[in-house]
């Protein structure tokens, strides 16, 4: 008996070691490139491509960051493009959060004729990939003269179906009693929305905000189409242009990557507490 226990214990220790080994290998795969980005951003180009790669930089080559901001042509488009990205992503996030909450609330808590049809339409919209609507959108926006403008970058994304769906799912679980109590107290529907629904939807709103901001921060294909002038381009395009000239300076390219990641990193760690809860919410609603 004791022997069997020992065997079992030995086997489970082996299994534990195996699990940690797999987790460790994957962890290196996941974190390695990020460490590479940060360390390479502090190295002169010569050192980035040294064989073997030196994971600890010799010194801090801060010039890379200056180079990233200055740009290869010395015209500081980085600053302008960063501002563009921040402005576009923030505006879209705000409008998505507000519109999704309003619409989701309307769908979750009101009975009206055509509600099912509206819901179906919105779910159907979720299935449309951007690449399909991209060309017609491009024709529409250019014919409205919105090329190379903030309007052109922002308007097509003011709200998205996934956001509406997420907020609806969340608000379905919202207790009706609270809403009725507010109604009895004489609050108007708009007041209820503003004073009751918004403040108590924080976890869902934070999740939606992160997801929206991230997808906009990531958006490459639409700005490529709509913003040809360098003044109106966004950070993803800036990085792409840097990468096309990559053999000039790898260190500076990584410095650009680090700088471009900062807003997302700050936002994510600022709101991560809500986000994990949000992931749970996301999985609870399933398909």
């Amino acid at each position: 008996m004791r022997q069997r226990n020992a065997v079992r214990r030995g086997r489970s220790a082996l299994a534990t070691a195996g699990v940690w080994l797999v987790l460790g290998v994957v962890l290196v795969y996941i974190l390695g490139p990020l460490v590479f980005m940060v360390t390479a951003s502090l190295m002169p180009a010569m050192e980035v491509t040294r064989i073997p790669y030196r994971w600890i930089p010799q010194g801090f080559h801060w010039q890379n960051y200056w180079q990233a901001i200055r740009g290869n042509d010395g015209r500081f488009f980085f600053v302008r493009n960063m501002v563009n990205s921040l402005f576009v992503a923030t505006t879209i996030t705000l409008s998505t959060v507000v519109l999704s909450t309003i619409t989701g609330y309307g769908l979750a808590k009101f009975r009206f004729r055509g509600r099912k049809a509206v819901m179906l339409l919105i779910v159907a919209t979720m299935m449309i990939p951007f690449q399909v609507v991209m060309i017609p959108l491009y024709i529409i926006t250019t014919s409205l003269g919105m090329q190379n403008s903030y309007a052109g970058l922002i308007v097509p994304f003011l709200v998205n179906a996934f956001g509406v769906f997420l907020m609806r799912q969340y608000l379905l679980t919202f207790p009706d009693d609270i809403l009725d109590a507010a109604r009895i107290d004489g609050a108007s529907e708009v007041q209820i929305l503003w004073r009751v629904v918004f403040p108590s939807s924080w976890p869902a709103i934070a999740t939606l905000a992160i997801l929206t901001f991230r997808s906009q921060w990531d958006n490459l294909i639409w700005p490529l189409l709509i913003a040809q002038s360098r003044e109106m381009q966004t950070i993803p395009i800036y990085i792409t242009l840097f990468a096309e000239e990559k053999f000039t300076d790898e260190g500076a390219m990584m410095a650009t990557a680090v700088l471009a990641s900062l807003p997302m990193v700050l936002l994510f760690f600022g709101l991560s507490r809500y986000f994990v809860g949000g992931a749970q919410l996301f999985s609870a609603q399933k398909g």
Partner: protein
């Protein structure tokens, strides 16, 4: 009687509020999703040059016919299939294993979750830029392979040889998204009643049996969600392939449909043809999602 009418009045008034709340988004979806889809479908039947002011010429299924005869299209389809299949399998498999391993650990759970999720925080373009340097002939990928294979100084042509290039883009994508799906799986696993798993263990089931007979079937809804999202995500890939090809890699092996749409529309200005391509992409996505839901529906999950 009067009371009932009064009550119906309230309901109707409230219903009107419902409409008011829904309307702004509805108008938006109409203008920026529904209309463009129909428009894309419409455009796909015309020959139209982006820069010419000439009226589009109706050619029926001409664009589709052209596509079905063009080797570039078939190449795109094949490339998209390889990328989606490979990435999808790696993503779902790896994230499931990671989620199981992480949820079985008591220590470092939160750290592991955050660490695996961290690549999702950097943008896709940044991810592609990092890996571009890793796959450089003098980069870490070659160094690593050469160290383990004992082949010093060999260049494995990550960004040039077709197979390697395809594999390289998959690695970038898996790296970027595996943590995201892991977190969703972890949430799914934590929603399974612990008592069920413990009961199975007490009844003498091995870890392996417990997984296949209890955990995995109960994870169906989560697996389905992850599959649909992952597959659609893979089919939509663009940035990685775009950046790699801009940085000098051959386009052929990574010319996924989205990249092809972009090139057809923006570089050769064939709007009708690009629309037809995007409609085909849409049809593929719809079919695959439908298929997944059907497969899932055939086996409903219950905790009994």
């Amino acid at each position: 009687m009067r009371r009932r009418r009064a009550r119906r009045g309230i309901c109707e008034r409230r219903g009107r509020w419902g409409w008011a709340f829904v309307l702004p988004s509805l108008v938006f979806f109409g203008l920026f999703s529904i209309y463009p889809v129909l428009n894309a479908l419409y455009l796909s039947f015309f020959q139209k040059h982006l820069l010419s002011s000439a009226a589009p010429r109706f050619i029926g299924f001409g664009n589709y016919q052209y596509l079905f005869q063009s080797p570039t299209f078939w190449n795109s389809l094949k490339v998209t299939g390889i990328f989606t299949g490979g990435t999808f399998a790696m993503l779902v498999g790896l994230s499931l294993v990671l989620a199981l391993f992480i949820s079985s650990r008591k220590r470092f759970q939160r750290f592991l979750q955050l660490a695996f999720f961290s690549p999702a925080v950097v943008s896709t373009v940044v991810a592609a830029a990092i890996w571009l340097l890793i796959f450089d002939p003098r980069g870490i990928a070659n160094q690593l392979v050469n160290t383990f294979a004992g082949t010093p100084g060999v260049d494995h042509r990550w960004l040039v040889a077709p197979g390697m290039l395809q594999f390289a883009t998959m690695l970038v994508y898996v790296w970027k998204y595996v943590g995201y799906f892991t977190i969703i799986f972890i949430a799914g696993i934590s929603s399974i009643p612990r008592s069920l798993i413990e009961a199975a263990r007490v009844d003498g089931a091995s870890v392996w049996q417990t997984f296949w007979k209890v955990t995995f079937p109960l994870l169906k809804p989560t697996t389905l969600l992850v599959s649909v999202v992952a597959m659609i995500q893979c089919l939509r890939t663009f940035s990685t392939q775009y950046l790699f090809s801009q940085a000098g890699s051959p386009r052929g092996p990574i010319d996924v449909i989205t990249l092809n749409v972009y090139h057809t529309a923006v570089r050769t200005f064939q709007i009708g043809r690009a629309s037809a391509l995007s409609i085909i992409l849409f049809a593929i996505m719809l079919f695959l999602s439908w298929l997944q839901f059907r497969v899932a529906r055939s086996e409903e999950v219950s905790y009994l």
